[in-house]
C-alpha cells in the first residue's frame, strides 16, 4: 500500500490560484440588498432614545422587535443577544441592521441615526467572575505544608486577533419559504442551530452552505452565528436576498479575539529540587458575553502542566466579564496562554533553584502511563525524548544555548515542549457532538463524502478524500467532496479542536471499510457511521476527573532570536520544530500547517499587539495590528515523527493547533536568554524589553 503521507496536489488549489474559487463576497444574487450594522458607541449603558431619519423607499431597519422567537444567539452560554434591546455591554454591541440596495445610501442613513445612552460605569478589570472552575489532583495542600520552599510567578498575555485575510460575511435569501445562508464559516450546524432558535422555525426551514473560506483560525467558529441570526431575521421579514460582509475595520472591532489572561503559578519545591505541587489560578478576560469562554477556560486548565507530570495540583480558573469585545475561539483555544505560562515557570523555577534548566525539565517530563493533570492516564506512547533530541540536534541547541547564555551577542535560543489534546474535551464528542458521517457511492462507482467539516485552508478536503480513497483502494479522482450544505451532509460536528483529521477522518475510514464490504458495482450504496467513545476513556465533566482527551499530539519548538541592543526590536532568525501528530495524512499539507501555526504562535509572543482604551480597541486595521510579513517570518525546519494512534485514520491525531501553542514560549525564552532578564509578559514588545532592561539581571 502506498504511504498515505506522500503529498498529492490539493483538490482545490487550481480554483484558488486562478481566482475561480467563490468566496462569500464573490456571490451576487439578482436584486440583492446590502446590510450594515448600527452598533453601540459606549462601553456600558442603557439605550434611552433612538432617532432614525425618515427612510427612503426600500430602505429598512431591522432590530430586536423583528425577532420571531428568541433574542439570543445559541452558543454554549446563551448570553449573547442577536440585537441589543435596552442594555448595551460593549463598544460594537449590535443594535440594528440598516438594509437597502445602495451601500452609499445605507452609510448615509447609519450616519444619521442618533442614539442617546444613559451611560454606566464600565468594568474592565477582573472583578465579575462568571465562570469558576476548580479541580485537584493528589493533595497539593499537604505538599505545600510539607515543603519549605515555594516559588510564585504571575504571567500575562494579551489579545490576539485571528486576522484571517477574508473578513466575515454571509449572503442569505428566501426560497419557497425556506431561508438559505451561505457564509464564511467553520461550523455549518452551529449556524443552522442558532438560526433555528432565533427564528423559532422547523429543521427544514433553514439551510446553511459554506462558501470557500478565506482563513478562519477559530474566528469563524462561533461569531458567524451572530451575523447569521441577524441576517436571517432581516431576510425573513423583508423577503429579499441580502449580503452582509464586514470591512476590515468592522471585523477587527467586533469579532472575537484570543482571551487576554493573567496566570498565577505557585510551586512547592521538594528537597530534591523537584516540583512537589503546583497551585494555579488562570484568569481569562471573557469580554462582554461568555459565548463559549467556559470551554476555552477548561482547555487552559487541562493544559496546566503541559508536557510535564506533577503529582499534586490545585487548579482554579475564572472567566471574567468585562465591557469589552467578546473573546472566543482562536487556534489553540486557551492552551497557548497556559503553555506559555507553565513553560516560563519551569524555566524560572530551575533558574531560581540554580538547577540546570534542561535537566530540571527532563526530570518532570511526562511519560506513557503517567497520571494526567485530571488524574486520567497517558494511554499512548509518549515519544517526547526523541522529539527533544531531534529538535536540539537540528537547531544546535546545546551549543548555542550555552554560548548565548554567557556572551553579550544579543542572541538567544528558546525551546518549548508541549502537547495538544485532540478533539473535544472529555466526553464532549460522545455527549454533545455525536458526529455522523455519510459515504454515498453512485452508479458510476464514484464515492461522495458527506461531512460538515469545512476546508478553511487546512486542506481537509484533500486529506479526508485521501483517507476514503486509500481505505477503499480506489483512485483519488473517484472520490468527490464538496463544501458542506446542511441539506446534504449529516452533522459531523464543528471544524474545531483539531478533530477533523482524527475524529471525522476516523469515522470516514470506518465508513470506508463498511462500504468496501457492501460494495456492489453499478449500484448506489450508502453508509452512515456514528461516533462511539473508545471504551477505555472515562471522564467526569463535573469534577474534571479522568481522561480529558482521547489522544494527545506532542511537539517541540526551538526559536532563535536577535534583540537589537538599541531599539530592543526582536528579529526571529529561525525556527526548528519536531512534532508527533500520529501520522501525517499528507506530508506537504501537514508541513504547511506547521509553518502557518508557528508563524502565528511566534508572532503572538512578540509582534501582535492589541489593546483597548476604556473598551475601545486601539488597533483597528492591518496597519495598526501587525501580523508577520514575508520579511518578518523566519525560515523553518520541521521534522515529523510517525507515532500512529490506533484509533485515528491511518494513525493520524490532531495537528492544526499543536503548531501554534508552543511558539510564544519558545520566542519568549529566546528573548529572555538574549536580554538576560526574566520575561513574564507577552507580547514582549520593545517597550516591554525596555522596562525589563531598567531592572537588574536575574
Amino acid at each position: 500500500m502506498p504511504d498515505i503521507s506522500k503529498a498529492v496536489p490539493k483538490l482545490d488549489e487550481e480554483e484558488k490560484m486562478s481566482g475561480r474559487a467563490v468566496y462569500v463576497d464573490d456571490i451576487d444574487i439578482p436584486g440583492m440588498y446590502f446590510a450594515r450594522t448600527v452598533r453601540s458607541t459606549v462601553a456600558k449603558g442603557r439605550i434611552v432614545k433612538i432617532d432614525v431619519p425618515k427612510l427612503p423607499k426600500d430602505y429598512h431597519i431591522i432590530d430586536h422587535t423583528d425577532i420571531p422567537a428568541k433574542n439570543v444567539v445559541k452558543m454554549i452560554f446563551d448570553d449573547w443577544p442577536v440585537f441589543a434591546e435596552e442594555k448595551v455591554t460593549h463598544i460594537g454591541d449590535p443594535i440594528m441592521l440598516v438594509v437597502g440596495k445602495d451601500r452609499a445610501v445605507i452609510d448615509d442613513i447609519c450616519e444619521n441615526i442618533a442614539i442617546e445612552y444613559a451611560e454606566e460605569e464600565p468594568v474592565f478589570d477582573f472583578r465579575d467572575s462568571a465562570v469558576d472552575y476548580r479541580f485537584e489532583k493528589g493533595d497539593a495542600k499537604k505538599a505545600f505544608e510539607r515543603t519549605a520552599r515555594h516559588i510564585e510567578y504571575t504571567y500575562r498575555t494579551g489579545y490576539q486577533e485571528q486576522a484571517y485575510i477574508e473578513p466575515q460575511g454571509f449572503v442569505a435569501y428566501r426560497e419557497q419559504g425556506r431561508i438559505t445562508l451561505i457564509g464564511s464559516i467553520q461550523c455549518p450546524y452551529y449556524v443552522k442551530n442558532a438560526v433555528l432558535d432565533t427564528l423559532g422555525c422547523g429543521e427544514d426551514d433553514v439551510r446553511v452552505k459554506q462558501a470557500v473560506v478565506g482563513g478562519a483560525f477559530g474566528g469563524k467558529e462561533e461569531y458567524p452565528s451572530v451575523m447569521a441570526c441577524q441576517l436571517a431575521v432581516a431576510v425573513k421579514k423583508l423577503n429579499v436576498p441580502i449580503k452582509l460582509v464586514f470591512g476590515r475595520e468592522e471585523d477587527m472591532e467586533v469579532t472575537t479575539k484570543r482571551h487576554p489572561s493573567t496566570i498565577t503559578l505557585r510551586a512547592a519545591i521538594a528537597e530534591d529540587n523537584t516540583v512537589a505541587a503546583l497551585d494555579a489560578h488562570i484568569k481569562l478576560d471573557g469580554g462582554a458575553y461568555l459565548g463559549l469562554s467556559n470551554v476555552v477556560l477548561s482547555r487552559s486548565m487541562l493544559a496546566v502542566t503541559a508536557a510535564y507530570t506533577i503529582e499534586n495540583l490545585n487548579v482554579a480558573g475564572d472567566v471574567y466579564l468585562t465591557n469589552t469585545v467578546p473573546n472566543g475561539a482562536f487556534r489553540g483555544f486557551g492552551a497557548p496562554q497556559m503553555i506559555y505560562a507553565i513553560e516560563m515557570f519551569m524555566h524560572h523555577i530551575a533558574k531560581d533553584l540554580g538547577e540546570d534548566v534542561l535537566e530540571f525539565r527532563l526530570k518532570h517530563l511526562a511519560k506513557q502511563g503517567d497520571m494526567t493533570a485530571t488524574s486520567g492516564h497517558f494511554h499512548e506512547p509518549i515519544i517526547m525524548p526523541a522529539l527533544i533530541e531531534r529538535a536540539m540536534e537540528m537547531s544546535d541547541y546545546r551549543r548555542k544555548a550555552s554560548t548565548y547564555a554567557k556572551d553579550e551577542s544579543n542572541h538567544g535560543i528558546g525551546m518549548s515542549w508541549f502537547f495538544h489534546g485532540c478533539g473535544f474535551t472529555g466526553s464532549g464528542e460522545a455527549d454533545h457532538i455525536k458526529a455522523e458521517v455519510k459515504l454515498e457511492k453512485d452508479i458510476e462507482d464514484k464515492v461522495h463524502i458527506h461531512v460538515a467539516a469545512v476546508d478553511m485552508g487546512q486542506g481537509s478536503k484533500t486529506t479526508l478524500a485521501k483517507v476514503v480513497a486509500e481505505t477503499l483502494g480506489i483512485p483519488l479522482a473517484d472520490v468527490v467532496i464538496d463544501n458542506p450544505d446542511t441539506d446534504f451532509v449529516p452533522d459531523s460536528g464543528p471544524t474545531v479542536a483539531s478533530r477533523t483529521a482524527m475524529v471525522v477522518g476516523g469515522l470516514l475510514a470506518r465508513a470506508g471499510q463498511r462500504l468496501k464490504s457492501e460494495w456492489v458495482s453499478g449500484e448506489t450504496v450508502v453508509v452512515i457511521e456514528k461516533y462511539k467513545q473508545p471504551d477505555h476513556i472515562r471522564w467526569d465533566d463535573e469534577k474534571f476527573h479522568g481522561d480529558a482527551y482521547p489522544a494527545y499530539s506532542w511537539g517541540v519548538n526551538v526559536v532563535e532570536v536577535e534583540v537589537d541592543p538599541h531599539t530592543y526590536e526582536v528579529r526571529v532568525e529561525n525556527v526548528t520544530s519536531a512534532y508527533d501528530g500520529g501520522k501525517a495524512l499528507d506530508e506537504r499539507i501537514v508541513l504547511g500547517q506547521a509553518d502557518g501555526g508557528i508563524a502565528q504562535g511566534v508572532a503572538y509572543g512578540y509582534l501582535e499587539v492589541m489593546e483597548h482604551d476604556k473598551g475601545k480597541l486601539k488597533q483597528r486595521n492591518l496597519t495598526d495590528y501587525m501580523i508577520p510579513t514575508a520579511v518578518d517570518t523566519a525560515p523553518t525546519r520541521t521534522y515529523l515523527f510517525d507515532n500512529p494512534y490506533a484509533l485515528g485514520p491511518f494513525g493520524a491525531k490532531g495537528f492544526g493547533e499543536l503548531t501554534l501553542v508552543g511558539g510564544a514560549p519558545a520566542l519568549a525564552l529566546a528573548v529572555e536568554m538574549a536580554i538576560g532578564r526574566k520575561v513574564t509578559k507577552i507580547p514582549v514588545t520593545p517597550e516591554v524589553i525596555m522596562e525589563l532592561m531598567k531592572h537588574g539581571k536575574h
Binding site: E14, M17, D25, V212, L622, T633
Partner: protein
C-alpha cells in the same frame, strides 16, 4: 459622466463610473472579475493586487480615473499564460496555497517580481512579497515556490 477607457486583460474596454471609484470595485462589480479580492481596503494586504502596465498595484487604493489608457491585468487575464502556469505549478509543488484568499494577489506579486528580477535571491523574494499578507502559510512555501518557478520557468521572464 464621461467614459474612461483602458485595456483590461488584453481587451480595450470603456466604463462610465465616477472617476474616484476604486478600481477594485470596478473590476469586481462592473466586469465581474472576482479573482481580485478585498482583504483590508486600505493598501495593507495585497489581496486586491493587479498588474498595471506590468507593475503590481493595490486596486483598492487606485481610483478609476488613473486607469485611463493603462494596461490592466487581473488574475483572470494572467491565468493560462505560460508564466502563470510556471508559478502555479511551483505553488502546487511547494504547498503555497491554503485558504487561497491571498493567492491571486501573491501570484500577481510573483509575476511583478520575476518580471523585474528573473533570478531573485530568497531575500529579494521576501522583500518583493512584503506587501502581500498571508495568514495561513507563514510564507516559506510561497517563497520556495517563487524560487522554483524562477528556476523551472527559466527563459519565461
Amino acid at each position: 459622466m464621461e467614459s474612461i477607457e483602458f485595456v483590461l486583460n488584453g481587451k480595450p474596454v470603456s466604463i462610465r463610473r465616477h472617476p474616484s471609484a476604486r478600481l477594485l470595485d470596478v473590476l469586481r462589480e462592473d466586469f465581474g472579475l472576482k479573482g481580485t479580492k478585498e482583504g483590508c481596503g486600505e493598501g495593507e494586504c495585497g489581496a486586491c493586487a493587479v498588474l498595471i502596465d506590468h507593475r503590481i498595484v493595490n486596486s483598492c487604493c487606485y481610483p478609476l480615473a488613473y486607469a485611463r489608457g493603462k494596461r490592466i491585468t487581473t488574475i483572470e487575464g494572467f491565468a493560462g499564460t505560460p508564466r502563470y502556469e510556471a508559478i502555479a505549478r511551483a505553488m502546487g509543488e511547494e504547498g503555497g496555497v491554503q485558504c487561497g484568499i491571498c493567492t491571486p494577489g501573491m501570484i500577481i506579486a510573483a509575476e511583478s517580481l520575476l518580471d523585474e528580477n528573473p533570478k531573485p535571491s530568497e531575500e529579494e523574494i521576501r522583500v518583493g512579497l512584503s506587501g502581500n499578507l498571508c495568514r495561513c502559510t507563514g510564507y516559506n512555501m510561497i517563497v520556495k515556490a517563487i524560487r522554483r518557478a524562477a528556476k523551472e520557468g527559466e527563459g519565461l521572464w
